[in-house]
């Protein structure tokens, strides 16, 4: 079935299967920034923005996206670059498999709460598992990004 939605501010009409997750759907259409870590709502690496709110692409059905705005890191490059600068400064990058998802959540958090503190960041990012970093550097990077580049 064809569905029409806004992907990174551009209208697209793509073929979706009735039970297909947004994750499989996007990857099948070569949007590979969205990763699959568990396919079971438990790791956060598949996070995308739906109408500017983070959702798990493995959990949402592709069919549900008709008429909605979906953003991935490809579509928010300016903001993601800022986040990535902050990650670089704090040494928060490791394997990076979790990073596109985290970047989207951080962007959403900043829009929701531009004064978020460490504890609020930890809570907001809680759904993003990261097996590499130990999280602390990510929190420092998040503070830096939310603080507009300052730590």
């Amino acid at each position: 079935m064809k569905i029409t939605f806004m992907l990174n501010d551009r209208k697209v009409t793509w073929d979706a299967l009735p039970g297909e997750s947004l994750l499989d759907f996007l990857r099948r259409h070569h949007v590979v920034s969205v990763k699959k870590g568990c396919d079971g709502s438990t790791c956060g690496v598949c996070t995308v923005l739906m109408n500017h709110k983070p959702v798990l692409a493995c959990t949402v059905l592709a069919m549900r996206c008709t008429g909605e705005h979906i953003h991935t890191v490809e579509g928010l490059a300016d903001e993601v670059e800022k986040i990535s600068e902050a990650f670089g400064i704090e040494g928060a990058d490791q394997c990076g498999f979790c990073n596109p998802g985290i970047a989207l959540s951080l962007y959403a958090l900043k829009r929701e709460n531009s004064n978020a503190e460490a504890s609020e960041i930890r809570q907001y990012l809680e759904g993003h598992l990261c097996r590499c970093s130990g999280y602390q550097a990510q929190v420092k990077a998040a503070l830096r990004y939310i603080g507009g580049g300052q730590s």
Binding site: M1, E20, S41, P54, V55, T59, V60, L61
Partner: protein, 265 residues
């Protein structure tokens, strides 16, 4: 997930009709739980376009549409006021923000999950469920019903009478199911105590609640006794997450602490 037919309905009648005609039809809330199943779904009925995703407030109650996400509920100002914010607190401990932006209150109630962190706090409030067909029913009586319940939940309403309340989820990480959870409330001198993930579904500790209601200004000792009575009163069990003995210890401790908190002790 394998779905044969996906139905986007625009009225409740249409949805209900489909639900009754196809024995295998499944209503789609957020779909998070449905996706964990491995059985192919013949008919999936999407409730998204029915306008069930709003929260409204009256003088007496807050009415939450069945398609409201757990996250919208958690961050709603009115809900943050309930019982000192204990319900928002409970919701905030279910997986991550992105998950809660998808999972709905309708799916969370209708699933009757034994591990639920939603039902336990709701049980200590005054909650009614509104169905398309069966009309209105209290949460407690819905939970005690057995068998398949083929109706559409349209909204839940929560009485706003000010109360003091507390919720505790015991788990290894916040992304974890509860090992056990406890909610306690005090409304105009009346107590409610609910225990969930026992590991079976949440229940009220009715006899202990009634006993406490008869005692004026319960002392710390009484509240400690109440914790023990709850353990004796409701059934706790073992599963791979914890043994019964540990659940007993947790329930005793947190019921007492919850009661002390709502009594300001």
């Amino acid at each position: 997930m394998h779905v044969e037919a996906y139905h986007k309905v625009s009225t409740l009648e249409e949805a209900y009709e489909l639900l009754q005609t196809h024995d295998s039809a499944v209503l789609l809330g957020g779909g998070a739980w449905i996706r964990t199943g491995s059985k192919p779904i013949e008919h999936l009925i999407d409730l998204k376009e029915l306008g069930l995703n709003t929260i409204t407030e009256t003088d007496q109650s807050i009415i939450i549409g069945a398609m409201v996400s757990l996250r919208d509920m958690e961050t709603h100002q009115g809900i943050k006021q309930l019982g000192g914010g204990f319900l928002s607190e409970a919701l905030s401990q279910i997986l991550g923000v992105a998950f809660r932006n998808t999972a709905t209150i309708g799916g969370s109630v209708m699933g009757k999950y034994s591990f639920s962190d939603v039902l336990t706090p709701l049980l200590v409030l005054d909650v009614s469920l509104h169905f398309y067909h069966a009309k209105t029913m209290s949460l407690a009586s819905f939970l005690s019903q057995r068998g398949r319940f083929r109706d559409i939940l349209t909204a839940i309403s929560i009485d706003k009478t000010p109360c003091k309340a507390m919720f505790k989820k015991v788990s290894n990480t916040t992304l974890d199911f509860s090992i056990v959870n406890v909610a306690v409330s005090l409304v105009k001198g009346r107590h409610k105590i609910a225990v969930g993930a026992r590991p079976s579904i949440a229940v009220l500790a009715e006899s202990v609640m009634r006993w406490l209601d008869t005692i004026e200004k319960p002392s710390e000792m009484i509240l400690e006794e109440a914790g023990e009575r709850v353990v004796a009163d409701i059934k706790l069990g073992s599963n791979q997450r914890a043994k019964e003995a540990y659940r007993q210890q947790l329930v005793k401790t947190y019921v007492t602490r919850g009661l002390k908190e709502v009594h300001g002790l």
